[in-house]
């Protein structure tokens, strides 16, 4: 891959061509979760389901650990990862709390505070 200098926004990943290439298998698996049948197949054999979509070891571990930051680092896209989160009934405050190391209540308070100033 040619090296390009990219602008860095702290705590933020731009889902560009490099990430889209890296995360293709992971995102393709998450895209399959638009179907209830596939969601059930995943829950029945999570590791086997990851293997069927060709996830690498880093991606598979991130999925099995349900670690959103690790999935992002492995090329996962937020909109697709959210479909995996849906299987575990995680809402966006659960996901936000996990990524920021806060409790869910702290994360929700941070959102409310953003409206106050």
């Amino acid at each position: 891959m040619a090296s390009k200098s990219k602008r860095v926004i702290p705590g933020t990943t731009i889902f560009d061509g490099d990430m889209a290439r890296k995360g293709y298998a992971l995102n393709k698996m998450c895209y399959s979760f638009n179907s209830e049948e596939n969601r059930q197949a995943f829950l029945a054999d999570r590791e086997g389901y990851c293997a069927r979509f060709g996830l690498n070891a880093e991606q598979t571990k991130a999925v099995l650990d349900l670690s959103v930051l690790a999935m992002l680092a492995a090329g996962g896209n937020a909109y697709f990862i959210a479909k995996l989160g849906g299987i575990y009934k995680l809402d966006m405050q659960d996901v936000g709390a996990q990524q920021t190391g806060m409790t869910k209540a702290e994360f929700q308070a941070k959102l409310v505070a953003a409206g106050k100033n």
């Binding site: 705590g11 560009d16 061509g17 992002l72 849906g86 009934k89 966006m92």
Partner: protein, 278 residues
């Protein structure tokens, strides 16, 4: 010729679908959001649009990363919603307007906007929820044309390109040989970021300025690059380019009929603005 009566831009968080399904509109959490809509309903009752052109972004329902058009347009008789994987209820199909779709396709490609044409197209919450919010008692006569912009995989279309695309959509609608009354809807935003250590980022100051400039001076937005907008509004806040395209379609001067802004709905700063062409 067809007439553009105005435009509406509104947030499209998936959980709004659950709130509607469970009739939570007057629940303390949801009330400040849903209370923004009655004045817009009254305006729609007055201007009575026949067709809605809806500028939105897909979230991995109709388009995957295997084929990702920058600009796509529906040209179907009907648009169906389907399971998006996050457990929100699926809503009934919306009627299309293939005559307007093909007029837009012909006009826009002639104007050198080479968009992807879709005779079958699933529409996700970003298309369905704004329509459910704006017509809570479903207007069965309303015809729709979905216009989908890529906000998933970078590079995204620049704000300058979106505004020009919107202006071309507006010109195309006004050259359509029809007596239809058209409303242009933009969906998504405002500031929010779902992913990364910066998850939960919201920028009220920027959002409020954006809403004001959208009415008075939409070219103001073109001073920002997409990366600037990610920094200022979050990785998903950049969906506000759908608002910009919809605003472009309204042409020159517009008058704001109603605005609402509330933080938070889920992780999102929820905005609403209705504008009438003058």
């Amino acid at each position: 010729m067809a007439r553009i009566v105005g435009g509406i831009s509104v947030t499209h968080v998936p959980y709004i679908g659950r709130a509607i399904a469970n009739s939570l509109q007057q629940d303390a959490y949801w009330k400040p959001f849903f209370d923004g809509f009655p004045p817009v309903h009254a305006w729609l009752d007055k201007v009575k649009p026949d067709v809605a052109v809806v500028v939105y972004n897909d979230h991995g329902l109709n388009f995957f990363l295997d084929k990702m058009p920058t600009f796509a347009i529906g040209a179907a008789e009907e648009y169906r919603n389907a399971d998006e994987g996050w457990g929100i209820p699926t809503v009934a199909p919306f009627k299309g307007d293939p005559d307007l779709s093909w007029h837009l396709i012909d006009s826009l490609i002639e104007a050198e906007f080479d968009l992807t044409t879709c005779q079958e197209m699933l529409v996700d919450h970003a298309f369905t929820l704004p329509l459910e919010l704006l017509w809570p008692k479903r207007n069965a006569a309303l015809r729709t044309v979905p216009v989908c912009q890529n906000t998933v995989q970078f590079p995204l279309p620049t704000p300058k390109r979106c505004l020009a695309f919107g202006r071309a959509i507006g010109k195309a609608i006004e050259s359509w040989d029809s007596d239809a009354r058209v409303v242009v809807i933009g969906t998504g935003g405002l500031s929010h970021q779902l992913d990364g250590e910066r998850a939960g980022f919201i920028n009220k100051k920027f959002d409020l300025e954006f809403m004001e400039k959208l009415v008075t001076d939409p070219d103001w937005v073109t001073r920002y690059s997409i990366t600037d907008l990610v920094e200022l509004t979050g990785t998903q806040g950049v969906e506000l380019i759908n608002w910009l395209t919809a605003r472009g379609a309204l042409g020159g001067a517009v008058k704001a009929i109603h605005t609402n802004y509330h933080i938070p709905i889920s992780n999102t700063a929820a905005g609403l603005i209705a504008m009438e062409t003058v």
